[in-house]
């Protein structure tokens, strides 16, 4: 049943994708049209049964270094990516997008960020000129697929969440339309590690204790030359390796860590308590429990928990607590 639902979901996206690629609209009675209609009818409103709501955050430091990190990954895998990766004007090209380094060019800044819905969903969002070859390129990079319902929140100064659309969670600077770059992110933001964007999506497959490979469209632009008009823009579609920062991630880490029964039960008990508070809508109390979790891990880090596991659990717990107390209102109740 889950397979059928999954296939139906893919069908809708595949239909739109094929319509984008096909040179002209197929005739009403043609086999192609019948196939596409079947896919379309079967594809609406379905989410795989194993999809799970997961939380991810993006910090300015992560965003401004993302083109370079992705460039490294894409170049290393260029033998299998083939023509999907190339060079263009001192930048790495992936599919049809161009990813210039923000660390190398201090004048270039990020003004828009969109989390894309995976290999099939991404081409539907980025527009025709960028869509060609994107599905296969993202598939080769093992990009994860996610499903609605999804939400995005930002606390980054001078940034807003874009109106929700299918297969994308978007954020842009408040002056994006007019070319006002106030608040845009550049190389100087590489030291800002506090998360500015939070995204909650239904992830198609469970990443466990690893990162999820998520497609992100990053719009960069040069300074505006004409008042009221944006500077030259470049769209970079990259694959970012992001760790889920939620209770499920902590549960996975506990499960993957060699522990004694007493310690394992204690840590799971704390996480279950946090989950209870979260289910009751009390994020602040859940965050306090997560802090207790981190503290208990630290206190056992030499006696019962190997330091490498302890470090991973403490860092992820910290990020999860921060994600729960993200907005100003949430933070006020957390402190």
């Amino acid at each position: 049943m889950a397979w059928i639902r999954s296939t139906r979901w893919y069908g809708a996206r595949l239909l739109v994708l094929l319509l984008l690629i096909l040179p002209r609209v197929p005739r009403l009675v043609s086999p192609t049209f019948l196939l596409l209609t079947g896919l379309f009818v079967g594809g609406f409103g379905s989410v795989p049964a194993n999809a799970a709501e997961r939380t991810f955050v993006l910090a300015p430091s992560v965003l401004v270094s993302a083109p370079d990190l992705f460039g490294a990954k894409a170049l290393s895998r260029s033998a299998t990516l083939g023509r999907a990766v190339g060079l263009k004007r001192g930048a790495i090209r992936f599919a049809k997008g161009v990813c210039p380094s923000l660390l190398a060019d201090p004048t270039r800044r990020i003004t828009r960020v969109r989390l894309l819905g995976g290999p099939v969903g991404a081409p539907l969002v980025v527009g025709r000129s960028l869509a060609t070859g994107l599905t296969s390129a993202l598939t080769l990079m093992n990009t994860a697929t996610w499903f609605a319902p999804a939400s995005g929140t930002t606390r980054q100064a001078q940034w807003i969440s874009e109106a929700p659309v299918s297969d994308a969670i978007g954020f842009a600077t408040t002056g994006f339309a007019t070319g006002d770059q106030t608040g845009a992110l550049g190389g100087s933001d590489a030291v800002k590690t506090s998360p500015g964007f939070r995204m909650v999506v239904n992830l198609g497959s469970d990443p466990g204790i690893d990162t999820a490979e998520l497609a992100v469209a990053v719009t960069t632009e040069l300074p505006s030359k004409k008042l009221g008009k944006p500077g030259k823009r470049t769209e970079c579609i990259l694959v970012a390796s992001l760790e889920p920062v939620d209770l499920e991630a902590l549960r996975d880490l506990v499960a993957a860590t060699p522990l004694g029964t007493v310690t394992r039960n204690r840590l799971n008990f704390i996480l279950n308590t946090a989950q209870t508070f979260l289910d009751r809508g009390k994020g602040a109390r859940a965050a306090r429990n997560i802090r207790t979790f981190a503290l208990e891990v630290a206190q056992r880090s030499e006696t019962e928990i190997a330091p490498s596991f302890a470090e991973a659990m403490i860092n992820r717990a910290n990020a999860a607590a921060e994600a729960l107390c993200f907005t100003a209102a949430e933070k006020a109740s957390c402190n």
Binding site: D68, G71, K73, S76, L87, A104, A284, Q299, T303
Partner: protein, 439 residues
């Protein structure tokens, strides 16, 4: 007049030529760092645009100035890693096209912000079997014995060995920010693996990259604590713990060292003013784990029981590292080494005097006349560090027994509707389990 001019010139020269302070720091580069550096450096070279003129894309990487960097870790297994002291090394190592390639590389890598450093004469080690470290011109080289062989793959490394460590010491200038990384120029040599016992010619490839590394020395924690933490109480409290950690490490008392490091991390979490650890305190936590990684290192050649004290061992057989019972604060006795290569104090005769200002055996601290049973976070008159249950609310504690301190006396003071506030007897933190949320 001439004499004055000469003196002025000498003074000016001395003032100008004053050397930048350099510290001898320990760095650990993993095999994973080395392999990942190939892609990262390739992306950097692409971003240089016209400053890396002639750069071409090849399958799996790039080709620039006659050097191809592609397929490291999969096609080409790692055979050697040489840490170089800067772009000046290119002139000696890249002699193609009458030095033009070397000049191109020097220009490109000159823009990478490499750390200038002086190669040491010793103290380079690795935990990889069949690998050895040697001093070479402009740096230190780690290489597998089989790199030049024709028939064996022994020692060649790929991603499955990413946790392997190359450790070296370098004289480096202090970083601008506490806990910042240093960027080292590295030359990698890879070799294709043999599938038929050396009957085919091996493919070789070498590649220049850079790697960002953070020192693993405990001295890093001094700066991190002093420059990162704003709260003076927390800062001073942790500075004293870092001092204790240094003493323990000097004495090669690894058990106490690990205990202190866990204590520092735990209390940074406990005393964080927010729900999550602030970025500044997080840097200290990361620094502690970096130092911890440094302590975990064991060179491949090290073998507890071979009679020679090596990295990671407090002693080995009769090699006690120069320590005696007296040098470790005992009155007399014979220091011995346990089979696990930890020092054994069992035969040392303790005669500690609590209150003499010297930390002796069985003493956790000794502040002399400053020892106190009432001062928060002080050294107690028993020469024990302040602890939960000593009746004094220390800086890392919310409460002690029924004493909740000044600001908080009950659940309402913590924002609850009511209930009974308790003090956790183990951690001396507020226990709000019985507080009423009012919902």
């Amino acid at each position: 007049m001439q004499l004055i001019a000469r003196i002025a010139a000498i003074v000016t020269l001395l003032a100008v030529a004053q050397p930048v302070r350099a510290d001898l720091m320990t760095f650990q580069m993993t095999v994973g760092d080395a392999l990942a550096s190939v892609g990262e450096t390739n992306a950097f070279l692409v971003s240089l645009g016209k400053n890396a003129r002639g750069l071409k894309l090849v399958p799996g990487g790039t080709k620039f100035a006659g050097i191809t960097c592609a397929g490291f870790g999969d096609v080409y297994k790692l055979g050697s890693v040489t840490v170089l002291d800067g772009p000046a090394a290119f002139a000696e190592r890249v002699t193609t096209k009458k030095g033009k390639d070397a000049a191109l590389l020097a220009t490109a890598f000159g823009l990478a912000g490499l750390t200038p450093w002086a190669p040491p004469t010793t103290e380079a080690e690795t935990d990889r079997q069949l690998w050895a470290a040697t001093q070479v011109s402009h740096g230190v080289k780690f290489a597998t014995e089989s790199l030049d062989d024709t028939g064996t793959n022994d020692g060649l490394l790929d991603a499955s060995s990413s946790a392997g460590i190359f450790r070296f010491r370098a004289q480096v200038p202090p970083t601008a920010a506490a806990g910042a990384s240093y960027r080292f120029l590295v030359e990698l040599v890879g070799r294709t693996a043999s599938i038929d016992s050396g009957l085919v010619a091996f493919g070789r490839q070498r590649c220049f990259t850079f790697v960002d590394l953070v020192p693993v020395d405990v001295s890093v924690l001094d700066r991190l604590v002093n420059e990162s933490l704003e709260d003076a109480q927390v800062r001073n409290g942790l500075a004293s713990r870092v001092a204790l950690l240094k003493t323990a490490l000097l004495r090669r008392d690894f058990v106490t060292s690990l205990d202190i490091m866990a204590y520092i991390v735990g209390h940074l979490i406990a005393r964080s003013p927010e729900h999550a650890i602030p970025a500044a305190a997080r840097r200290v936590v990361t620094g502690v784990f970096d130092v911890r990684r440094g302590l975990d290192f064991r060179p491949a050649t090290a073998a507890c029981g071979n009679g020679t004290r090596e990295t990671g061992e407090a002693c080995d057989g009769t090699d006690l590292g120069g320590f005696t019972c007296v040098s470790l604060g005992y009155a007399s006795g014979t220091l011995t080494c346990e089979p696990s290569c930890l020092l054994s104090y069992g035969n040392c005769v303790a005669m500690p005097v609590c209150g003499n200002g010297v930390v002796e055996i069985n003493e956790e601290c000794d502040h002399g006349a400053q020892n106190s049973n009432t001062a928060p976070d002080g050294c107690r008159t028993s020469c024990k560090r302040s602890f939960c249950g000593d009746g004094v609310i220390d800086i890392f504690e919310d409460c002690e027994g029924n004493n909740f301190g000044g600001d908080v006396q009950n659940c309402k003071d913590l924002g609850y509707e009511g209930g009974t506030l308790k003090c956790d007897p183990v951690y001396c933190e507020y226990d709000d389990e019985r507080c009423d949320e009012g919902d």
